[in-house]
Structures are given as structure tokens and as C-alpha cells.
């Protein structure tokens, strides 16, 4: 059973982490992208916070839908449609399930559909996929988050802006995987999985 209280706490903590690490995300994105990942997501996080404060949600689907639409509208770049699609995918799933592994899986499917990327292409998917596997297996913890993130360093980007750099994308952590790592750290801290 996934409670709306814990989920909204999750998203709140995610926003705090993004905001606090804005410069770090920008720096990672400067190395292999266009340098605005942290600023874009911070803008989105502020808008999500505002939107969430306006409403009193009684179901996960409506909450996820608002988060998704707000991110699509406010974040821009590639991360707006990608994170936005993820939450809208979760919103759709939430109408029939409140199992966190299933919800996250629906989010990942939406990301893959939108970005047409797969595991191993140095994207946020390389954080999402192993985390979801661990949630399913009951072994989700900080190590899974950290190791998945670190694994993107030696990957060569074949999707997204970083792919234009070819081999020169190797040696850098993927910024989308880093922001996703914050998302899953927030998931741990909010206690959503144990709930």
C-alpha cells in the first residue's frame, strides 16, 4: 500500500535535493550537454511545490498527473518531457495499482517510449532500470542507487545531447542519471517502499 502522504513527501524531498544540488547538476550537464539540467529541474521543482500546495490530493493518480503536467510545462529541455512522461505514466498506472514497483515500472516505460532509449545508452534509464529491479527483489538501498549512477561514467552516450560527443562522453556521470539518483534517494528517505 503506497500512501499519498508518503508519496507527496517523496516528491517534496526530491525537489529539495534538486534545488540544493542545482549547480552540481548544471556542472555535470556542462561536461556532456547544454549545462542547464539543474536550473531546469529546479524551476520545475518550484512549480510542483506550488501546485501541490494548492491542492489536497486524495488519490495517487491525480497527484502524479499534476506533477507530470507541471514538469512538462515548466522544466523544458529533454528532462521536462521525460520526467513529465514518467509521472504521467505512473498516474495512469495508479488507477489500477498502488504497488510502487509497478508504478515505477510504468514510469520507466513512459520514459523509454518518449526518449526511445534503452539500458546502457548513458541516460536516466541506467538509474531507473536497476533501481526498479531492486525494488522488485526487495533489495533496494542506497548502494543500488550509487552503483547505478557510477556505472554511467564509463558508458558512451548513444542517445540525447551527449551522443553528439561520441567517445568524449565517456568518463562523465550522466546528469539525468544523477537527478534520477536524487529521485530515488528521496524515495528511500520518504520511506515509500517500506510503507
Amino acid at each position: 500500500m503506497t500512501s499519498i502522504e508518503k508519496v507527496s513527501q517523496w516528491i517534496e524531498i526530491f525537489g529539495e535535493k534538486i534545488t540544493a544540488n542545482r549547480e552540481h547538476l548544471n556542472k555535470l550537464d556542462t561536461a556532456i550537454g547544454d549545462g542547464d539540467h539543474g536550473s531546469n529541474l529546479t524551476r520545475g521543482a518550484a512549480a510542483v511545490k506550488e501546485k501541490a500546495a494548492e491542492n489536497d490530493y486524495d488519490n495517487l493518480a491525480n497527484f502524479f498527473k499534476d506533477v507530470g503536467m507541471t514538469l512538462v510545462s515548466k522544466v523544458g529541455g529533454a528532462s521536462g518531457p521525460l520526467y513529465g512522461s514518467a509521472f504521467m505514466g505512473m498516474a495512469k498506472k495508479a488507477k489500477e495499482s498502488d504497488d510502487m514497483a509497478e508504478l515505477l515500472e510504468a514510469g520507466l516505460e513512459a520514459i523509454q517510449k518518449r526518449g526511445k532509449a534503452d539500458v546502457g545508452e548513458k541516460t536516466m534509464i541506467d538509474e531507473w532500470a536497476p533501481v526498479i529491479e531492486s525494488v522488485k527483489a526487495g533489495s533496494f538501498n542506497q548502494d543500488v542507487i550509487d552503483e547505478s549512477l557510477e556505472s554511467t561514467r564509463e558508458m558512451k552516450a548513444t542517445k540525447g545531447r551527449a551522443s553528439y560527443l561520441g567517445d568524449r562522453s565517456i568518463g562523465h556521470i550522466d546528469p539525468g542519471a544523477q537527478s534520477s539518483a536524487y529521485l530515488f534517494e528521496a524515495l528511500l528517505e520518504a520511506g515509500v517502499i517500506d510503507g
Binding site: V72, S73, G80, P81
Partner: protein, 125 residues
Amino acid sequence: MAKEYGLLIISHVNEIATGLAKLIDQVAADVTVKTAGGTEDGEIGTSFDKINAVLDEFKEDKILAFYDLGSAKMNLEMAMEFSDKEIKLYETALIEGAYVAASLLQADVDLETIEAQLDPLVIKE
């Protein structure tokens, strides 16, 4: 006289989009060309809301869309899912593709022929 198809240009930079529209206007004065360049506050990027709003402005129900880089495509695809219009997205080089399509639309060439001409200009997946 307006054509059956309108043309949409999406770029990360407003000036790229409007500059291309200016270039196209020279050869395709009767084709409706609209642009969604940059973010809502004029920064570099693309905006779902902006694309959505521009799509609504078209009188034409059918739109041929051209874009520059990957995230423009993602925002466009999202907007396409929300729009009632019939929108075709092309993976050509932005300038060449939009220019060819507009010139042929101006000359009342049918879509099948236009797409055959666009084919060799495809540079994105």
C-alpha cells in the same frame, strides 16, 4: 491563398526558427509558416506549452513539422498527443527539409511527392 498543409518550425533558439520562416517566406508566400522557438521566457530550449499554443493558432488542420535537436522532438511529440490536428513530424535537416517542403507546398505538389523529396534529407533517426 492558404494551402492544405501548414508548416511548423521548432528550434531551441527563437531567431533560428523565425530566421528560417523568413527564408521560406521568400519562396512560399502562400504557405502558413509558424514557429515555436526557444522557451517561454525567451531562453534557449523548447517549450511544450509554446508548441501547444502555436499548434492551436493554425487554421490548417494538417501540419508538417520540422525541428532541430532531440528535446524539441520530445516536446513536439507530447504536444502532438494533446492536439486534434493531423501533424507529421519529419526527421530531416531542419533548414533543408522545411525549405523543400514549403517550396513544394507553394507549387501545389502532393504530399507523397513532397515526402519522396524529403527522404534523402533525413539525418535524424
